[in-house]
Amino acid sequence: MLPLFVLVPLALLMIVNLPVGQFLRRWSWGLTLLLTIAQAAALICFAPHLKAGGFLATLIPLTLELDNLSCVMLLAIAIVVGASLLVARGTVSGMKQLSNFASLVLIAMAGMNALALLRDLFSLWLFFEVVGVASFVLIAFRRDRGALEGAFTYIILSGVATVLMLGGLAILMLVGRGESSPLTFANVQAALQISGGLTAARLGIGMFLCGLLIKGGLVPFHGWLPGAYSAANAPASVLLAGIVTKATGVYGLMRVVSSVIPPTPGVNAVVLFAGAAAVVIGALGALYQSEMKRLFAYSSISQVGYILLGLGCGGPLGMLGATLHLFNHAIFKSLLFVNAAAVEQRVGTTDMTRLGGLGSKMPWTNVTSLIATLSTAGVPPLSGFWSKLIIVVALWQGAHYGYAVVAILFSLVTLGYLLLMQRKVFFGEMPAELANTREASPSVVISAVVLAGITFGMGVLFPLLLKTFLLPVKSIFPLQ
């Protein structure tokens, strides 16, 4: 079953781009959307039955494995890619452009699906690169100066990150000598357990992690991220902010910390510190932004900090909180970017100093944005509340009281800056030139409503979901 997650998007890409006239390309957007729905449906209905092996796996021996973290990630990928496609329908003009966008999204989707399923450090880098190449083009898609410069900056930084990651891998290969496949997660972990004290081993894993942090735009290498997000066009920024940085940076880091680096208190302390730093830096940076997308990008940095805090607890509960927050964050951050896209579509700018009073003109965007805001800030009963609650409880249980206090305190800061955004954009006085604004186009509204529905539904039905779907996530970590 598993190879299908990678092969089907690539096969679809080939099919819709067959040189048989424009007939197939007309369908590429619809077929891609259908594929995301199929992936989401397959995961929701058959998640327990999906497993490695089977007839297809013997035919195509791709080394893929599935666990609960992968499942959560695959589901998030399907939902956010679908939302991004809906936004593209309303904002990308021209059939050819839309078809090209859908094709690039398919490549990115295949890459992210592979990332969620693979268990090898070199393949991890390779599919980072696949997703990266697709996202360079997606950022530059608009072809204006800012977008092209943003894409080029990303390319150069990604090149540096590649050098660090592969240099680290080469050194790890030297350390993990004698293994039959020295770069799989399990073998690297075994090698590190034996010779983790070696300077070479530490250098190798350190270089790899540095590269991973740069590529994922995580603290302390987050400098390029807000610029690239705000330069990209609306559907691309939904895709990048909503899922690409999660599927590469955050997920990659979670994987490496939980299944490659041998668990030690020292590693956990570093992760906790980095998480707290990200929470603080992101929130403080967001306070000073006057452009919606930049504000959301800083907010992302802060939310990723919460994920790291959960991860740094080192226990199953922390891991559960981190996984859940990864999913929730992907959904509500995409929702915020969809709302920014709606505003951009109708007003032409996302500069908050020139906006105001849009609430009465764009009721759907207003309400969904409020839901995303409250969920990001962790207000009950929305989904963000539960994941933050679990993370705080995990921190408290692990006796990290200081970090727990930081987490709670900066939730309030998050609420503050997002409500400020809400007030500036949707409430207050409307500038005269915005009087003719209409609600965003139907596909953008549908996308926002679906994402808001998931955020709301996850929150309300959480006690039910916890028992059936979420508790198994703990199985990633052996119960101590």
């Binding site: 690169e129 530059a140 080029f152």
Partner: protein
Amino acid sequence: MTEAVLLFTVFGIGVILTAIVGFYCLLTTKSLIRALIAVEILAKAVTLLIVLCGYLTGRMALAQTLAITLIIIEVAIVVVAISVVLALFKQDGDADATTMRTLKG
């Protein structure tokens, strides 16, 4: 001195020197194309490191596949980057004068 130690020492120094040149070039340049060339120099260093580590651990087949994959990805990246530079050139009329404002800020 055995052969392995000799190769490790000498080529290891080569990797470090090449990497220094690449980083230095990347940090000081203002031209987009030269920044890309700097990344290529860095890629040379890392290719050598992979092949060297493969040789030292007796895993040449594995190291060669990794190096080939890296080379293919390099081409993909260069094609995309040059496309971006050319698209910028269409706006400015000069592909070299474009400076990286965004990287600094």
